[in-house]
Symmetry: C2
Subunit: 226 residues, 2 copies
DNA sequence: AGTTATATTTACTGATGAGTCAGACTAGCT
DNA sequence: AGCTAGTCTGACTCATCAGTAAATATAACT
């Protein structure tokens, strides 16, 4: 019973079948998340039933529960994707060697890409209050860290002179407001491409924040850095 | 029984009692709206039950239905208040004789005042989708007019030179995003006063939008006018 | 073929919450 | 006092979903 000749012809490699299964499962889970995120964004979390999500996918409701244990977990996953994008942006900014303003723009661009992106369109703006208490605590804490980091980038910019004098907290709320509001109006079918929007918003933010004398476009590396 | 001495002492004037009743009714209706708006804003429309609203007011649920015929009507009223503020701002801007940028700032300031204001804190960001189809159509149409007017102010600013070259549509989404996101984070108990926030945001917007060579603060009336 | 693990569905349960109804309470009027 | 209109409440109903259980299909492997 140990030799498996047919397995060699049917299944290319020993663990391969299991891998394919897992891979399919992963894909399906992602499809569920994508559809749900889009629906939550468009019609709101509370106005979207699990049956709605299921019918878009052409399956029945209980199937969804194979991939997410509850509707709230689905929402939690959406929040995580959004925050992953934020943190990815922060990491990029951290890696970049430049002024605070440059870092800020790199970060926000990456964050916006996430919002527009493939799996994106995640309900950044959706009910934190619909989460379970534990999930909510987690999301709130993580968000707080992201906000604090945003504030930190702006404070850095103020101190290195790339950003004009301002209250970093308020300025970060200003910038995050612009970005977080995007899902409220952006539609794939709209007239503007994500690139146009990001470009335009980045320009507006830069000129809004830049120190009066500083160059508007940080195309040339300027100061501070070694 | 025809002479009514007690009426003279109790009720000052013939129609006065009825007036007082109406006045009380109006006040109560407003109280309901204020509490509901605040709750909708904090926890979301769907996460707020009519019982919640009632218990904050110390009354029972059916009482609310004396003042609003449905939960959706309550939401509709919230939207109306927010849009009233927007339109009031537009009227102010229209009355002001100055550059497009000045008008824009006047408008947005007034709009923000509404958001912070007494009856304010209205769920600008809340489900349009929870409204009845008719109400939704109404709100969407009115919002569209407000957006268009915002866009118009920016286009005016671009053409009169007070605002740098930009796509008015995207710039208006930028500005409205900043403002509409405020209810998502502002709390009366927070560290910043509405005045600080408005001042700060106005400054950031002005420097973001102003034409490169134009004065950053339109403190002295400069050009065009007269 | 048969056996097992996984995937999916139809048909339910149970909770929540909007909205109603019939009656109680109050205040103004005569 | 007694009548009337306006205001409020306790106790319902009824619809909508989130989530589950049990049964059925599919595929993977021997």
């Amino acid at each position: 019973m140990s030799d498996t000749p047919s397995a060699a012809t049917r299944a290319p490699a020993p663990g391969r079948a299991a891998f394919d299964r897992d891979e399919q499962r992963r894909r399906k889970r992602e499809a569920v998340l994508r559809v749900a995120a889009s629906a939550f964004n468009r019609r709101g979390f509370a106005n979207t039933s699990m049956d709605d999500v299921a019918s878009v996918l052409g399956v029945s409701k209980p199937t969804l529960y194979q991939y997410f244990k509850s509707k709230q977990e689905l929402l939690y996953a959406c929040h995580q994707v959004a925050m992953d994008n934020g943190e990815a942006g922060l990491a990029l900014a951290d890696a970049h060697d430049g002024t605070g303003l440059e870092k800020l723009v790199i970060y926000l661009r990456r964050y916006m890409e996430g919002i527009f992106g493939d799996l994106g369109n995640c309900p950044v703006l959706t009910d934190v209050d619909s989460l379970t208490p534990e999930d909510r605590a987690d999301v709130v804490a993580r968000r707080k860290r992201i906000s604090a980091a945003t504030k930190g980038l702006i404070a850095l910019g103020v101190s290195d002179g790339s950003i004009g004098p301002c209250d970093p907290k308020l300025a970060s709320l200003f910038a995050l407001g612009v970005v977080n509001w995007i899902p409220a109006w952006y539609r794939d079918s709209g007239p503007n491409t994500p690139e146009e929007i990001m470009e335009s918003f980045a320009t507006l933010l830069i000129s809004g924040l830049a120190a009066p004398s500083a160059p508007k476009r940080p195309s040339a590396k300027t100061k501070k850095k070694a």
